[in-house]
Symmetry: C2
Subunit: 411 residues, 2 copies
C-alpha cells in the first residue's frame, strides 16, 4: 500500500507528452502516397545511438521488418533511428520482402546518416503485398525530422492504419536526482483489422541503461501491459514494441541494483499501460473500455490469464455493449481459464456493485447496474479468495460496428 502511494507521487503524467518529450530525440512523418491523403512514413531519431530492446509478435509468420530489426539490434544492442511505414505490412512476402526491408533500412541509413545496423524497421498494413519501393524511397528522402510538437504528431499519425485516434503519452519521474522521461506512441485498433492488423509501440526515454537491463525491464512491463490487452484475440504478423534509451537525462547507468531501479520500471510501465489502454479503447467498433482486475489468485500469472480470458470473451463483450449486468458470462469465462480456480469462493463486482459473493448470487439493483454500464469505462473485479496473485487486462466491447467493419472490408 505504501509503495503504491509512493509510486503515484513519483510518477507524473506529462500533459500532451509523446515520443519527443524525453531529451535528445527528433521525429517526423510524410505522405509518401502509400495511403490516400494521409501521412504514411515516419521516423524517430535519437541524437546518439541508444540502448534498444524490442519484443515481437509470437506469430509463426513474423514479417520481414521484424527480422531486419532483430538483426540490427543483435549487432551492438544500439539503435539510433526507427523507420516505419503504414499501409503495407511486408508480411508473407518471402525473400523479396526481406530484401525490401533491408533496402528500406539502407535508404534510411543514407538519408539520416546513421549506420545501417543502428536502424530499426517496422511496417503495418496489408499482408501479402510488396512494399512500393519507389514511394518508400521518395518518402524517406522527403522526411525532415525535427523536435517540435508537430514533428511528434506527424510521426504518431504516420504509423496509424484504421485507428480513429492518435495514441501517445509521456510520464516522468525523478531518478538518481534527475528528471527522467519515458514517452511513447502506438498504433493498433485491436489486432483486428483484416490485413491491416498489427500493434506497434515505440517508446523513447532519456534514461541511461544497458541494452540487457532495458530488455528485461521491457519484458517485465509488456507482460502486464501490452500483452494484457485484447480486442478479438487475433495476433498480427507484425506486432512489435521497441524502446530506445539514450541516456540524455544524465543519470548514472540504471541496473537492478540501483536504488531507483523500480521507479524506472514503474515509469516504463505507466507509459506502456497508458498506450495499451488507448489501443483497447480504440478497438474497432468499440464504445467502451473494459478493465478487468483479478485478485486472490494463486499467482500473478494465473490472475492475468483469468483477467484476459474474461476481457476476451465475446459473451462478456457483447453484454457490456448491451449494458447487461450478466455476471453468468463472467463466471463462464473464469470457469474456462487455464489457471487454478477454487470454484467455491469467488466474488464478482461490476464497478462497486457486488453480484456474486462466495460463488453465491447476491441481490443487486439492475437499475444501478445498468446505469453503471453506461459509463465509457467499465470495471470488472473478480476475487478468487485463494491467494495473493493479482492481475489486470483491458479490452473493449463487441458491437455491430465491429462486425460491419470486418465483414465489409475489401468489398
Amino acid at each position: 500500500m505504501k509503495q503504491a502511494l509512493t509510486e503515484k507521487e513519483i510518477i507524473r503524467k506529462v500533459e500532451s507528452g509523446g515520443v519527443l518529450s524525453p531529451k535528445g530525440y527528433l521525429a517526423g512523418g510524410v505522405h509518401a502516397g502509400l495511403r490516400y491523403n494521409k501521412l504514411d512514413i515516419g521516423v524517430i531519431i535519437s541524437e546518439k545511438p541508444a540502448s534498444c530492446a524490442a519484443v515481437y509478435t509470437t506469430s509463426h509468420f513474423q514479417a520481414a521488418p521484424l527480422w531486419v530489426t532483430r538483426d540490427s539490434i543483435s549487432s551492438e544492442g544500439l539503435i539510433q533511428a526507427v523507420i516505419v511505414n503504414s499501409a503495407c505490412a511486408n508480411a508473407c512476402t518471402g525473400q523479396k520482402g526481406l530484401e525490401d526491408a533491408y533496402k528500406m533500412r539502407a535508404l534510411a541509413s543514407e538519408a539520416f546518416k546513421v549506420a545501417q545496423h543502428h536502424i530499426a524497421v517496422a511496417s503495418t498494413g496489408v499482408i501479402g503485398e510488396f512494399l512500393p519501393m519507389e514511394k518508400i524511397e521518395a518518402g524517406i528522402k522527403a522526411l525532415v525530422p525535427g523536435s517540435s510538437e508537430k514533428n511528434a504528431q506527424d510521426f504518431q499519425t504516420a504509423i496509424l492504419t484504421t485507428d480513429t485516434v492518435m495514441k501517445s503519452c509521456c510520464y516522468s519521474a525523478e531518478i538518481d536526482g534527475k528528471l527522467v522521461h519515458a514517452g511513447g506512441a502506438a498504433k493498433g485498433s485491436g489486432m483486428i483489422h483484416p490485413n491491416m492488423a498489427t500493434m506497434l509501440g515505440f517508446i523513447t526515454t532519456d534514461a541511461s541503461i544497458s541494452t540487457e537491463h532495458l530488455h528485461s525491464a521491457l519484458k517485465e512491463v509488456t507482460d502486464v501491459t501490452f500483452n494484457q490487452i485484447t480486442v478479438d484475440g487475433d495476433t498480427s504478423t507484425n506486432d512489435m514494441v521497441l524502446v530506445m534509451a539514450n541516456g540524455e537525462a544524465g543519470t548514472k547507468e540504471l541496473t537492478p541494483d540501483h536504488p531507483d531501479w523500480t521507479i524506472f520500471v514503474d515509469l516504463l510501465k505507466a507509459n506502456c499501460e497508458d498506450l495499451a489502454k488507448q489501443i483497447a479503447r480504440d478497438g474497432e467498433g468499440a464504445t467502451k473500455l473494459i478493465e478487468v482486475t483479478v485478485s486472490g489468485a494463486g499467482s500473478n500469472e494465473d490472475a492475468r490469464t483469468i483477467a484476459k480470458q474474461i476481457v476476451g470473451s465475446n459473451l462478456v463483450k457483447t453484454a457490456v455493449f448491451g449494458e447487461d449486468a450478466n455476471w453468468g458470462r463472467i463466471i463462464g469465462a473464469v470457469g474456462q481459464a487455464d489457471a487454478i480456480v477454487g470454484p467455491g469462493n469467488v466474488d464478482i463486482q461490476l464497478g462497486d456493485i457486488l453480484m456474486l459473493k462466495g460463488s453465491t448470487p447476491v441481490e443487486f439493483s439492475e437499475e444501478e447496474a445498468k446505469a453503471y454500464l453506461e459509463n465509457e469505462t467499465v470495471e470488472i473485479k473478480v476475487n478468487l479468495n485463494g491467494g495473493a496473485g493479482k492481475g489486470m487486462a483491458w479490452g473493449c466491447d463487441l458491437s455491430y460496428d465491429y462486425v460491419k467493419i470486418n465483414a465489409s472490408y475489401r468489398t
Copy 2:
C-alpha cells in the same frame, strides 16, 4: 484411402433417425412450465441398465447435475434413464443446488421404477437460479415415455434452449454380423447464449460393450468431433455428452480386440460429428457452417489445434459472413496457433480455390471466390506440408445477429 471407402460403404445414415432408432429405448418430453409454452423436461429410458460413459465440461464451475451424473455412473457404470430439463442450469447454486439435483434423480427413480444410481441428470438454462422443484416434480410425474417417432422428437425438443432447430441423427453399421445403431440428440446454439449456454449430447446405441471400453471410444470420438466445434470460444458450466449402450442388437461384447472395433468407433464418430456440425451450423446468428481441414501438420493434435484456431477467429468469422476471400486472416490465425508451424511452406485453399502456395500469394479470381463464399457451407483447407497430421474443426460465421442476440438478452 481403402479404409475411408470401406467406412463409407459400411456406415450408413438412417433417414430421420434419432435417439429411438437403436433397439430397446423409450423417450418422452413434457411441458412443465419452466419455459413458456415449450417442452422443457425430457427422458430417455433403456429397457435394461446400459453401459454408460460421459464426458463433462472442463469449466472450473461444473454444475450440480454433472456431479450427480458422475456419482451415478461411478456406482456400477450402468445407466438406465437420463432425465433432462431446460430453462434452468442449476449452476452456481451451491449445496441447495446439489440437493435439488439429487432430488430430481429421486423423483425420476420413483416415476420410472429405476434404481437411483442408474439415473443420469442434466440441466441447461440460466445460471445462478434454483430449480423450480414443484414444477420439476409435476413434470417428471407427467412424463409418459414411449417408442414412437413423436416420443423421440418430444425428448429432442425438450432439451433445447435458444436453438432454432432440433438436432438429431442416427447411423448404422454391420458389426459382428448384426445391424448396430448409434442414434443421438443434442442441443447447443454455440456455447454462447449468456446464461443459456451449454452443449448437451445424448447418444444411444444397441451395441454390446463394457463401460470401460465405451468410455475410451467416447473420449477418442469427442476429441475429434464435439471438442472441435466452436461458436465463440465460450465453454459452459453444464456441457455433457453421454452415451448409453444396452446391447440389444445382440452382438458379442465389443473390445478393442474385436475385429469390428474400429467400425464401432467410426459409427460413434459419424454420429457425434453429425450432431457437432448441426450445433455449429445453428450457432447464434450464424448464416454459414465453416469447415476447416488442416493437413501436413506434425501431429493430429497440432492439426486440430490449428483448425480450431482458424474456425474460432473473429476475423475469419466476420470475413466469411462478409463473403470476403481474405486469406490474410487465415494465415493470421495459423500464425498464432499453439502448435508447430513451419512458416515457409503453407498452402491455403478456400474450397478448391488456391490462394497461398508455399507461403506465397497466388493470383485467384475474386469473383469466383466471392461466389464460393455465398454457399451455406464454406470449406477452408490449410496444408502445412510438414508431416502427416490431419485434423478438422467446425464453426460458424459472426454476424450482426450474434451481437444483437447477445447484447439484447435480458434487456
